[in-house]
């Protein structure tokens, strides 16, 4: 039985069939609707095809309350394509005085974590010839929230493990006029290669030995926090720095299974030249007008792909921008899994 807030998703393909096992404990809930692969085209090699699986990470109450320590371990076995989704944005509620209820107490982690803050941790292992697509809705931090999001993905093969990772956030409860009003947002995305490939069959991760078994190739670490010891608070406040946007996204597309998406992004990046800015430049009408983005090529230790940063004054436009770029996933994970993401 998992400890409070802990969960596990495990996908394995044996004898051409996909087996997905999930477990979770309050306040976390994981559900896995069935996804079916597209019918095989006669001339494709069925061994190359990935079998799709979908898991929704949910929480009771529709958000994360202060003091929650969500922890999910994920393993996507050879031959599987796992989509991890959420249902609606992840709300991080404001900090309240006092300690969280004692039945959520997690003895193991109480010494490491500050019980006044909220933590969400995900450790993902991607085996050879497997794909993980982590495509959540954005995180929305309420006023005063203190949020730490930590995601570490370990690729077991530099040449055949693939990943799509989307990490994004909104400015807050915009309808209530709360923009960039939370107290802390720390988001760490780590991509590593499993060192010592003979270990690849091992079951489950060991949190403490993770670092010794992994070689880190990407660490994206964003901190938005107002420091109190500043002489003039407005000068450093992230609310001023982010005043022109309401959504910011970081997207990683890595590995051979999704190279078609990375190639298209690279191509678009090189073709969409930026002309020197004129305040009265005429811009064509489209829902992508206000979306700003840039693509950075990644080629580290044989892992190839792109990192994309996207920002816009409107969550819907950013979402539409991302969905359009990820559309080739439909052919990679199949129509049924894709539609669960796309129609959400």
């Amino acid at each position: 039985m998992p400890a409070p807030g802990e969960g596990r998703i495990d996908c394995q393909v044996t004898a051409g069939r996909l087996h997905q096992t999930v477990s979770s404990a309050y306040p976390l809930k994981i559900i896995s609707p069935q996804a079916v692969p597209n019918p095989t085209e006669p001339n494709t090699d069925s061994k190359e095809r990935l079998l799709p699986a979908v898991s929704y990470i949910l929480s009771y109450g529709g958000g994360i309350v202060h003091g929650d320590q969500i922890h999910v371990d994920v393993r996507s076995g050879t031959g599987s394509a796992l989509m991890i989704l959420t249902q609606g944005s992840t709300k991080v509620y404001r900090r309240r005085a006092g300690r969280p209820p004692s039945f959520l107490k997690n003895e193991k982690k109480d010494t490491v974590y500050d019980s006044n803050q909220t933590y969400q941790t995900m450790l993902i292992d991607v085996e050879p010839q497997a794909l993980v697509c982590l495509l959540p809705d954005p995180v929305t931090c309420f006023e005063g929230a203190l949020y730490n999001q930590r995601q570490a993905v370990r690729l077991h093969s530099t040449s055949t493990s693939s990943l799509v990772l989307l990490d994004w956030m909104t400015s807050g409860r915009m309808s209530r006029g709360e923009r960039w009003a939370f107290s802390k947002y720390l988001s760490i995305n780590v991509v590593a290669i499993l060192d010592g490939l003979q270990n690849k069959k091992r079951q489950g991760q060991n949190y403490d030995s993770w670092i010794g078994e992994s070689r880190i190739i990407i660490r994206d670490a964003l901190l938005l926090e107002n420091t109190s010891n500043e002489q003039s608070p407005s000068e450093s406040s992230f609310a001023r720095r982010l005043s022109s946007i309401d959504a910011f996204a970081y997207l990683l597309v890595l590995g051979p299974a999704v190279s078609v998406i990375a190639d298209l992004l690279r191509k678009e990046h090189m073709e969409q030249r930026i002309k020197p800015f004129r305040p009265n430049n005429k811009v064509p009408e489209s829902d992508e007008v206000d979306v700003q983005w840039s693509v950075s090529d990644i080629d580290e230790c044989d892992i190839k792909g792109v990192a994309v940063r996207i920002a816009g004054p409107n969550t819907e436009n950013v979402k539409a921008w991302i969905k359009r770029r990820l559309a080739p996933l439909q052919y990679i994970v199949g129509d049924s899994a894709w539609s669960m993401y796309c129609n959400a």
Binding site: I188, L224, S236, R240, P276, I298
Partner: protein
Amino acid sequence: MDKETWLLWLLADSQLPTGGFVASAGLEAAMQAGLVRDGVSEDDPSSFLWFIRDSTSNQACFALPFCSQVHRLTLEHLQRTNDTFDEKGVVEGALADIVRVDSYHHSMLSSNKVAMRASLAQGGGLLTLFNRGYAQAEFMADRRGRLCAAMAKQFQRLSRLGEIKAHWPTVFGFVCAAMDISKSHMQQLYLFQFVRQLFSAAVRLNLVGPLRAQMLQCNIQPSVSNLLRQWGHVQVSMDSIEAIFGDSAVYTEPVLELYQGMHDRLYSRIFNS
């Protein structure tokens, strides 16, 4: 005049041959893409002055900790020579530590190609400058100096072999330690150079005149001083997964990072980053 002051002035020179003059830290892209606007008041959020302030504060928590860490590690290994005659062992031990810090910094730049290019170019430039210039100076002729020169040589050898990337903050920390510049002076110099380089880019992009730029550089001093107070003591911690998930080396400017990434999309450009 003491040696340290003299060396600091040399390193603070805008003509220091490390290639810093081709870098604008994303200012050129931000200007062409419309984040930074020409001709607005300096209080306006789209003024280049805010860009410089935010970008400097980003450097203080993103790169400065790496610089401090390498400085401390180099000094610790040099200390060890008081107890051992195994100089080869000291050199190798120091480089092993520097490689770890440098590759961790590399992972933090691997999804920002433009910033990585600038960091590698300037780091490589400074390492060459040290090897071909300072390492052969007379003040480096004592035992400590020779040891540092041996480390620098090994540093460059590993970098040629591709075993170390030699990023700007890493090399900067090493060179300052080798030249016996104190940690606090090194940190001041690091941020001073960064700010000066950005103002120089702003002048060349015609965002501000050269005379006004001097005045503004005076005014920014208290903010830089604040940043040093706030981030000067930070050590990069990377020995456990909790450390990797911690906030000891972070970036704070997602929007600036995004605009910097647009640099290669510019139709015409004068800077390399």
